[in-house]
């Protein structure tokens, strides 16, 4: 596997983890907007002009008096909103940020595959094994688990073992890292006219 090379393993780990660029852009824009507004008020104050929206001194006095001067509902709601935004950034920073992707072994290149691509390939295999149409198979791929949901055509039997064996064989051929385990769910009710 190409991942043994330290340079390659660095590329792979960067491909399977989020860079948090989106959250970073949102946070930076928020901070910039806030600073531009504060700068405007501070500048207006420094040259002795009347304030644009609110004078910094008045704002500070209002903040000190806080539970008064505003309905508790509005105060609580705005507090909740700000806390939510903070929690969003906080979780982005703290959580591992793993992406829904698997690695494939390849001697030359580093290969990263979105889980949806794996799922659609496995669904195709399961569909041919169960002899049903595309709409009757749904495959969900997560890091450690592949769940194959099959809704058989009414009146024809679908062998769970055959589907499981086909999907497992396809997965063994792909050998994604980490290797997920396979579970097949056969729906008890069939589809009519498929």
């Amino acid at each position: 596997m190409a991942g043994e090379d330290p340079e390659m393993s660095r590329i792979l780990s960067r491909a399977t983890h989020s860079s948090r660029a989106g959250a970073a852009v949102i946070a930076a824009v928020l901070v910039i907007l806030f600073c531009v507004y504060a700068l405007l008020e501070a500048g207006v104050r420094a040259i002795g002009q009347p304030p644009w929206l609110i004078d910094p001194t008045t704002a500070a006095e209002r903040i000190i008096a806080l539970p008064e001067g505003i309905t508790p509902l509005l105060l609580g709601a705005s507090g909740a909103v700000i806390a939510m935004v903070g929690l969003f950034f906080f979780l982005h920073a703290v959580l591992p940020g793993r992406r829904a992707r698997h690695l494939l072994r390849d001697p030359r290149t580093a290969v990263v595959v979105d889980d949806e691509v794996l799922a659609s390939a496995l669904a195709r295999r399961a569909r041919t094994a169960a002899n049903v149409t595309q709409e009757q198979v749904m495959v969900v791929v997560s890091r450690q688990m592949v769940v194959v949901n099959v809704r058989p055509t009414s009146g024809s039997r679908v062998s769970e073992e055959a589907v499981l064996a086909a999907v497992q064989a396809e997965l063994d051929e792909m050998s994604p890292v980490p290797m997920p385990s396979v579970r097949v769910n056969l729906a008890s009710s069939g589809v009519i006219g498929a």
């Binding site: 340079e7 507090g79 806390a83 920073a93 979105d114 390939a121």
Partner: protein, 203 residues
């Protein structure tokens, strides 16, 4: 694969997130718990009194305004510049050259191969394939060395390992042409184009 500063992103997001979280929780508590309001009045009035004192001592001679406002403005400008610098770091790292080296011959000079050579060759080879809904190739700088990112969008049901092996062969052919092994990342993505177009039935 790009040079987004991930550690910096995490640290700054952590700082901003914790601050917003603290402010939000404080507002929530102020709205709901009376005891917090009493404490807040005492504490914040103290802080504000200290600040007003500082403002009074730093007035321009003969004028009402304090020069602390200008200091505050300067700090804000620095923060804004820092934030713009942070923004500009996101997604950077595109490179232009694939090879830039001296060869062994006795003629003075340098060999340079642009990233466009590999990008266009691979894109042309990949665009002929019917099992792909789209392909893009880009050159990035990884730790000062050029690397290629091949991003392909397989149609529904295409087996990724077979596709990976074939792309690998293309890359090996490219290695021979260029005469150097470049780190390559193959990324198979799923997107709206692969989801809503017809499934690949031939392979």
């Amino acid at each position: 694969m790009n040079g987004t500063p991930r550690a910096l992103n995490r640290v700054l997001l952590f700082i901003i997130g914790v601050k917003l979280l603290a402010v939000g929780l404080l507002l929530l508590l102020l709205a709901t718990v009376p005891a917090v309001a009493a404490w807040w009045h005492g504490w914040s009035a103290n802080v504000w009194a200290g600040m007003e004192n500082a403002f009074r001592q730093t007035r321009f001679p003969g004028r009402e305004e304090s020069w602390l406002w200008i200091v505050a403005g300067a700090i804000l400008v620095v923060i804004i510049i820092a934030m713009v610098a942070w923004l500009s770091q996101q997604g950077k790292g595109r490179a232009n050259l694939l090879v830039s080296s001296d060869d062994d011959s006795h003629i003075n000079g340098e060999v340079r191969i642009g990233g466009g050579v590999a990008e266009q060759a691979l894109r042309a080879a990949l665009s002929e394939r019917t099992d792909l809904a789209g392909a893009s190739v880009a050159t990035y700088e990884v730790k000062g060395r050029p690397g290629l990112r091949i991003r392909i969008q397989p149609r529904q049901g295409v087996a990724p390992h077979i596709l990976a092996a074939e792309v690998s062969q293309l890359v090996e052919a490219m290695d021979q042409v260029i005469g150097q092994k470049t780190p390559v990342l193959v990324h198979m993505v799923s997107g709206a184009r692969s989801r809503f177009t017809k499934a690949e039935r031939v392979r």
